[in-house]
């Protein structure tokens, strides 16, 4: 009788853990997506920066804000782009850190889930014998 209640408890625990694990996996996938977006943006920004560097001093630069093109100073635009690149790089680093963290968590969760499964199996086997 005691063993069956223990089994039930274990199964509940397993369920919780499995839920946690799937949540973690979702997080990781989301993170990956965002990270990919950021890397693309970074590449684009670098391209822009390169082109801006190639422009001569008097060139007109506009920024599309909503529906209107707003004229911008070249130096200002340049500074903006640089700042944006910096920001994106920082963001990427942060994402890397969180991703690593999440993956570690995922691994530990997976291990615990596996252990739980084994325990449940052994319990069930013992029950079947008895």
């Amino acid at each position: 009788m005691g063993s069956s209640t223990a089994l039930k408890e274990l199964q509940r625990e397993l369920e919780n853990k499995a839920n946690d694990l799937s949540k973690l996996q979702k997080d990781i996938a989301k993170n990956h997506q965002v990270r990919k977006k950021y890397t693309i943006q970074l590449g684009e920004n670098e391209l822009v920066l390169k082109e801006l560097d190639l422009l001569n001093e008097g060139a007109n630069v506009y920024k599309l804000i909503g529906p209107v093109l707003v004229k911008q100073d070249l130096a200002e635009a340049n500074a903006n782009v640089r700042k944006r690149i910096e920001y994106i790089s920082a963001e990427l680093k942060r994402f890397d850190a969180t991703l690593q963290d999440l993956e570690e968590k995922q691994n530990s969760k997976r291990d615990s889930v596996l252990k739980l499964q084994q325990r449940i199996q052994s319990l069930q086997a013992g029950k079947a014998k008895a």
């Binding site: 920004n45 391209l47 082109e51 060139a59 007109n60 920024k63 599309l64 804000i65």
Partner: protein, 415 residues
Amino acid sequence: MEEQLKGTVTPLASLFPVDEAQKAVQRVQEAISEKEKELDRLKGFIADNTNLVNLVQRLPDELHHDIMARFLSLLCVPFGKAAFFPGRLVHTNEFMVLLGEGYYTERTAKQTVEILKRREKMLDSQVDSLKANVHDLKAEASFFDTTVAEAAEGLVEIREDYVEESSIAEQSELDGTKDEDEEYKRMMSRLDELEKEELAAEGEQTDASDSDDESGEDDHLTTTESENETYDDEQALAVDGDNQSSEYKQTKPNSDENSNQTYRNRKVRFSEESLTKQPQQPKFTNTTANVLSDEVQSQIDFSKNSNCTGLAGQLASTDEKSSSKSLAHKHSISAEKSSMLPEVKEKVEALSLSRNEVPAQLSKSGFDSRKAFTGSIVEHNHNLQVNTQEQSSSSSQTAGSEPSKPVSRFKMQRR
């Protein structure tokens, strides 16, 4: 001999189960198709880009374009969702270029084309990297494919531990079984090889000896002169019988310690002759070949000098001692021709004396005397290292092609 090496045989199918490998193939194929889609996309971008470049280059040709005139090529001004109306393009040399991230800039057609060209380059590099990627994946896929096929065929994988000096085992094996005939055959083939190398090396050596100083040339003289005598003597020795030839075997390795290029040359020539004239003496040729191989080895770490030649010649004379030749006569010859240091001579004499006293001695005494002998050589070596630098270089070529055998015989004797 090979059969005795440890090895494992595993069927390939157990290492890579067929269905698993097939799964892997599938996965890789999926990855490839994904990459290829990407590649297609990039290629579409590139085509668009080149079209755009063409258009931009053509636009400033005219001051203005009637858009309606291009109606058939579907270029007209859209008005709302449903309607188009004819229009005119003016300011055909002014472009508002999107740099990305919402930044636009005013450019002329020429500048625009430059920007577009740069973009094209970027795209090209991306395409290249993707292609390389796809190539790698394809290689992987083909590997998996072959693995699947092989596993399905029931191929087995045979693994053997690599024994670095496998010829040691081989040789000791041979010796243990006293399989002289086989060894003899082997040695014969090896001697043929050495012969060829010798011929090649001699061509170089004549060049090298030109730059050698006089003592080097003296050596050549010494060895070639004494060659005939030693040849005769050793032939007689070989005929003498088992007892003596075994003794000969014992003494020979001594000389490998202080071998040099010229000595080896002589030996090779000598053995050639003996082989052609008396090929029915396997034991004898064996020993010579052993010496040869030992010498090849020892030449790598042993630097040659002219006095060594003298020593070698004298050593040959110590061998002859056992076949009752006058030692003193020999000594005088070599003493005259090679400017040997007295102490070394004494050593050699002592060595030959000991040999005289115990002619049928076994390997123990041979070892001792050899040790003493090596000692004398070592203290003597550094003096004349420079002389034969070039010889050693030429000899190292021959040595390099026969890496392991020489070591083995030598080490075997040590055991």
